[in-house]
């Protein structure tokens, strides 16, 4: 069982992290933040799974903290965004 749970954690992390790497090259800053958000949820899911796999209950606390602060960093990001509505400069040199 533990092996399966660790495997599931790995799968979720792999999927969300690869998604993030793809999106990091996107032009829209908002989409990068969305990918980070997804990675945060994925990391929480992985932590919960790893906690169940290793029977160390405190691992769940880390997941709790990640979820508590997930919206926090997102709020910080959108504040920076809203300060300059019109001409948010597109990131340069990140094509390919």
């Amino acid at each position: 069982m533990a092996e399966f749970l660790t495997g599931a954690a790995f799968f979720i992390l792999a999927v969300t992290a690869l998604g993030l790497f793809r999106v990091l090259r996107s032009e829209l800053a908002v989409e990068r933040m969305m990918a980070v958000q997804l990675l945060g949820t994925g990391a929480a899911a992985a932590l919960v799974l790893l906690g169940a796999a290793s029977t160390s209950p405190a691992t769940t606390d880390v997941a709790l903290l990640l979820m508590l602060l997930a919206a926090f960093s997102c709020a910080a990001f959108t504040l920076g965004q809203s300060e300059e509505p019109g001409d948010a400069p597109a990131p340069k040199g990140d094509e390919s």
Partner: protein, 97 residues
């Protein structure tokens, strides 16, 4: 009984993991930002929800189970407000004010 619980965990966790895959694919493949946001919240809500549900039979104590449910509830709150914030930022950007 234990085998049944294990099977339940297996199915639920696998379902959750697949939802994360679906969410990521949506984020990468959907045509515009708002529908990508929509794909994202599916993974947030359902994916994590299924995993928490699947793990509930595996935890030994009631407190541990409550903590798991708390993780999911916090994720609900975070995901809902975060997508609102992102959509709002996007809207302001589009409308040019």
């Amino acid at each position: 009984m234990s085998a049944l619980a294990d099977l339940f965990t297996l199915v639920m966790v696998a379902g959750g993991a697949l939802l994360f895959l679906a969410g990521t694919l949506g984020l990468l493949r959907f045509p515009d930002t708002l529908s990508r946001l929509h794909a994202l919240s599916k993974a947030d809500n359902l994916g994590l929800g299924l995993i928490v549900l699947g793990l509930l039979p595996q935890v030994g104590s009631i407190a541990g189970g409550l903590k798991l449910v708390c993780v999911w509830l916090l994720a609900q709150l975070s995901a809902a407000t975060a997508s609102q914030l992102i959509a709002g930022a996007l809207h302001r950007r589009k409308s040019g004010r």
